[in-house]
């Protein structure tokens, strides 16, 4: 019966057509943040980008050429990844099971507070504390020696492990807080359904909880990676910044604030951003392969 009558509404209103493309009152909410960044960030960013292509001497790409031809500079990328990736992976790997335990606790607040505590410490306190605590005269080695487990102090500061520990201490609470909140956002009915259908705890985790957590974990991974990748003060204070923990920020910092070569510093910063962007985009792409959406299991 509808076939014969001519369609009157085949032209939808502009508003409806926009809505079908996903643009409506809700979409507009993104505007304030976009406008803010356009106003305050984009110009400085482009300035920095252009600056990186206008080196103190040499052609447009001189800074980049210099960076990639000098192992003293390009090695920093690997050094940094060698810190940031393990730290991020370990933080997530620790945060997940702990979040799963904490979620079951009835009095979770105290534990959560303690676990999250390190975010308040600041890099300086952590650096000072670790230098002191893990240092050759610190309580850690002293205790182990007292217990007779070692006979001379462990070397845990001013090397890779010092920076590593401080990144874990400051990075873990961050990942934990996010993970805990993402974990508890999943409808417990789904886990129950999985269990009833025979899934063991590992299988429930693997097939039901993890896939639902991936979007959140991906973001937590990216943010904590980005944070670890930009490590600076603790690499300086706790590491051996001339060698094993000469991270890329140090190179950028030295270019900017010791050699006052802002152009080179911008180039290094751009390289940093590119490396991170590559990893972040890869992670977010993986995230998009997974289900994203409500983690409610049904009605009610």
């Amino acid at each position: 019966m509808a076939v014969s009558s001519p369609p009157v509404y085949n032209r939808l209103s502009l508003r409806q057509r926009l809505a079908l493309r996903g643009i409506d009152g809700v979409t507009i909410l993104v505007l304030p943040a976009v406008l803010f960044l356009l106003a305050v960030f984009v110009y400085p960013f482009i300035y920095g980008l252009v600056l990186s292509f206008t080196p103190k001497e040499g052609g447009m790409f001189a800074n980049y050429q210099k960076f990639f031809s000098d192992p003293f500079l390009y090695d920093t990328i690997l050094t940094t990844l060698w810190l940031a990736v393990p730290v991020t992976v370990i933080s997530i790997a620790l945060a997940l099971p702990i979040a799963f335990r904490v979620r079951l606790m009835t009095r979770q607040r105290l534990l959560t507070t303690i676990l999250v505590l390190p975010v308040t410490l600041g890099t300086v306190l952590v650096a000072e504390g670790l230098l002191n605590y893990l240092g050759p005269q610190g309580w850690f080695s002293r205790t182990l020696m007292l217990l007779g487990m070692i006979d001379r102090p462990l070397k845990l500061t001013n090397n890779y492990w010092g920076v590593f520990s401080s990144l874990i201490i400051t990075g873990f609470p961050f990942t934990f807080l996010l993970t805990l909140s993402y974990v508890t956002g999943i409808d417990p009915a789904l886990e129950q359904a999985a269990a009833t259908h025979g899934a063991k705890s590992w299988q429930r985790f693997r097939f039901v909880l993890l896939p639902l957590l991936i979007p959140g974990l991906a973001i937590a991974f990216c943010l904590s990676f980005v944070q670890a990748f930009a490590v600076f003060p603790s690499a300086v204070l706790l590491g051996a910044p001339a060698g094993p923990t000469r991270v890329i920020s140090i190179a950028a910092y030295q270019a900017a604030f010791e050699q006052y070569d802002y152009s080179m510093a911008s180039a290094i910063a751009m390289i940093m951003a590119t490396v991170q962007l590559t990893i972040v985009v890869a992670i977010l792409a993986i995230r998009n392969l997974f289900y994203r959406g409500s983690t409610a299991g049904g009605k009610g």
Partner: protein
């Protein structure tokens, strides 16, 4: 929720708790060394300092006019947290709920400030802010700090919002809640754990944001981190104890907020809590 009781599961649980305990013990010991040191006269290769004093706090307090600095720090941090929450959560909502052309580009725009170190854009950003007349003022510092925090909130919040069943939102709309009241009465309470987590981290990051704050702060808008970094990095002699005292002041500044926040909001979500009571009761 389901609890496991097999041997393997018990081992696993024990392992998790052992790790947690190891982490906490070392963490608390580490904090304790700093606190103890900040109250010590001298502490040279022994279990405890030779004597006790509070002078490091008094000298730091006077040297850096900490009462002013702390007030400014609180004001700035509070403003940044509030504004990034406002801008970030709304934008995250749009990004979580809608697919629209250009979304990828916008996501890139939100990613960049987190990826690009402030060295690159800090100086031109400060220039822009000074040109606009806000450089060196309270608002200059706030605006500069918002550059990385707004994107941060957006990224953290997107998965939280995606977790919420859109039907619940639909119900709120049908019953007359416009976007604003939808946020106020439905989304906010459900997102509270996420918002708490995001804002807490924003707070911490803002308190810690040295470069952007330093570059845009005037004589009266310096925050604590500038003083702290000065005491650590400035040339000249400085006693470790006095750095430790500054570090403790810094910690307390953020710790207060953490405690307040966790006092009022549980980072676990309401849905889970209601259902958890069910199995725990």
């Amino acid at each position: 929720m389901i609890r496991d009781t097999t041997i393997g599961a018990k081992l696993w649980i024990t392992a998790v708790w052992v790790i947690v305990a190891f982490f906490i013990i070392n963490l608390l010991a580490m904090i304790a060394t700093v606190v103890i040191s900040s109250f010590g006269t001298r502490w040279l290769g022994t279990w405890l300092p030779a004597g006790w004093t509070t002078k490091w706090y008094f000298t730091a307090w006077a040297e850096f006019q900490l009462s002013d600095v702390l007030i400014v720090t609180f004001q700035i941090v509070f403003t940044v947290v509030a504004l990034s929450g406002l801008l970030g959560v709304t934008a995250a909502y749009a990004l979580a709920r809608r697919e629209f052309p250009g979304k990828k580009l916008i996501m890139l725009l939100f990613l960049l400030p987190l990826l690009v170190p402030p060295i690159t854009f800090g100086i031109p950003l400060a220039t822009v802010l000074y040109q606009a007349g806000v450089g060196g003022t309270f608002w200059g510092v706030v605006l500069a700090n918002l550059v990385p925090t707004v994107p941060f909130v957006i990224l953290v919040m997107i998965p939280f919002i995606e977790q919420i069943d859109p039907k619940v939102e639909a119900a709120a709309r049908v019953f007359g809640a416009g976007t604003f009241r939808l946020f106020l009465h439905v989304l906010m309470p459900m997102l509270l754990p996420g918002i708490l987590a995001a804002l807490l981290l924003v707070l911490v990051r803002t308190v810690a944001m040295f470069e952007l704050t330093f570059l845009t702060a005037g004589p009266t808008s310096q925050t604590l981190v500038v003083a702290l970094y000065y005491s650590v990095f400035a040339s000249g002699v400085r006693a470790v104890q006095s750095i430790d005292a500054m570090a403790v002041v810094y910690m307390v500044t953020t710790l207060v907020w953490l405690l307040i926040a966790l006092r009022f909001v549980n980072p676990t979500q309401i849905v889970a809590r209601a259902k958890q009571q069910q199995s725990a009761a």
